[in-house]
Symmetry: C2
Subunit: 336 residues, 2 copies
């Protein structure tokens, strides 16, 4: 079913309509302010040439497959693998191949991988990492488009897709308030870590005490819960910066005779299946939708490959996944 | 420092010595039974041509870099990522690039990735997966060498590197016996899972009761420990088929007032940092040395790329990592 005729590109459309590629793109994507006459001229040219603006649709028609390099600094794989799966899912199986490279936070290794990918003629590159924060661009003047996912580029002309971590934190705290909790504590990772800071700030000034910064571990969650109990803070909810911290908090509260969720509601961040399901009770959590981030990144990359780049920072919402640790009106309870 | 002269290969050495490539390889690697005269003739030829048998040394001298495709079925990344890091470490940074592809247990996706890697001219392929078991070969008559790591190929002519899971299980049980435990129970994953079966068989007939097969989760560990307590099995140790199961066992034992390790020693499998360190107390565990498996796989692949394939099943030992959950003579204890 492979067509041998070269398909029209946006450049062909622009040439026929007598406009720039940028203008043609705006006209076809209904973006920006254009004169109605210009928009109509571009649309007519596109129609005449059989041009299809939608990258996914075009790929399906041409039978073309894309190979994308993904460079990550996430040695653990916990963040990069869901992103990779999402990116692959942006098109059907076999229409996009994602080659994952682990640069391990090492700029020299990153440049080696970049060269390896370019030598092997990938169509585009997705850059990701363990930390949702801004980083220096991969390189300048690359021959293929680059999209940053989860991490973002410090260059506003680059295309980045990031989770709305602040929005996620607000959702967590608002849910606790909506279910009657009034005295909320926040326990999170190190204060030099962007994600910890952003989430803590978004959790707001209405917390029962200043956020407890520490590390991303269950041990810290247990320790922090012990501190809250020892200082006799009167609290009825804990918003934790990660599921591991949340699980540590829950274990220590239960060991001290506080019921979760009856006495204290606890909510985590990440929605990491291993943690949320093993916790007793199972944890409510904020999900950054890494899979969706990966899909969006792949779609933006395909668009860029097809001459329709979308520079800037694209922010995607987090969603709340509710389980027993924040349940309302739980009867009985399981006092330790 | 890049040499422009083509370096001698093992084929050149064999031709000059008037022997087959296999014989030359044996002579240079001190393997197999050869007449002393043949060995000497090959060594002289190698010396005359400046041939270096060691792939790593040769790479360093030529400045050549290798790109290896790694195809995995491990969507979680928990097994494939350490393997990948080990493979990269077989040579220095930038001398080996590993492109990871996730085939998701889907044969069609696997063939797509295989094609994508071959089109992009990788030097070789490492196949891995979530389960240490035999699988059908990737394909026949591939233009590049393939090494199976963690998984193995059903074709004995293929090269596979696998962990000695049975040996690991024996080490775990022997350690428990050596520290005075006599009544050992075994709780593990599903009995249709090769790893669960192999480890359970190796744990031996001397167990206090038949192995408890279930699933690879903390919840199952908790449930199984509850069963052991309810049926009034007299046990002083639990060997668990995974760290998640071990952690579940520990939590239920402690909640029931049994001290770990004083009353019951518990040992896990995988040495997964997240689990072993968060457990209370920290877990002793069997480490399959995935990093080492990756390094060995990469070295075998490099050798094969350089004309020295090593077919067959290469078994690497597991090692025991001891922590508090099997400690001897722990004073005090932390009774719940």
């Amino acid at each position: 079913m492979r067509k041998t005729d070269r398909l029209a590109t946006i450049r062909d459309v622009a040439a026929l309509a007598g406009v720039s590629v940028g203008t043609a793109s705006k006209a076809l994507n209904d973006r920006g302010s254009l004169r109605a006459e210009t928009r109509r001229r571009v649309q007519e040219a596109a129609e005449r040439l059989g041009f299809q603006a939608n990258a996914a649709a075009r790929t399906l028609n041409t039978g073309r497959t894309y190979t994308v390099g993904m460079i990550t600094t996430d040695s653990i794989g916990r963040f990069s693998i869901p992103l990779m799966l999402g990116a692959e899912d942006a098109l059907g199986a076999g229409q996009m191949s994602v080659l994952l490279c682990d640069a391990r936070d090492d700029p020299i290794r990153e440049q080696y991988y970049l060269r390896a990918l370019l030598t092997r003629r990938v169509d585009g590159i997705i850059v990701t990492g363990r930390r949702a924060q801004a980083r220096a661009p991969l390189a300048v003047d690359l021959p293929v488009p680059v999209v940053y996912a989860f991490v973002s580029s410090t260059d506003p002309a680059d295309c980045s897709v990031v989770p709305d971590e602040a929005g996620g934190a607000v959702k967590a705290v608002e849910h606790l308030r909506a279910t009657g909790r009034r005295r909320i504590a926040h326990v999170t990772g190190p204060d030099h870590h962007t994600s910890a800071r952003v989430r803590a700030e978004a959790a707001g000034p209405g917390l029962v005490r200043p956020p407890l910064f520490g590390e991303w571990s269950e041990a810290w969650g247990r320790q922090a819960a012990g501190m809250l109990l020892a200082e006799k803070t009167d609290f009825d909810a804990v918003f934790a910066g990660s599921d591991q911290i949340a699980r540590g908090v829950v274990d220590t509260l239960r060991a001290a005779g506080r019921r979760v969720p009856e006495d204290v509601a606890v909510i985590g961040f990440d929605n990491w299946d291993v943690m949320v399901s093993a916790s007793q009770p199972p944890l409510s959590s904020v999900d950054m939708d890494l899979d969706g981030l990966g899909r969006t990144a792949a779609n933006l990359l395909l668009a860029a490959i097809n001459g329709e780049p979308a520079p800037g920072r694209h922010v995607r919402p987090c969603r709340l996944v509710l389980r027993e640790s924040t349940a309302v009106g739980v009867g009985g309870g399981d006092r330790v």
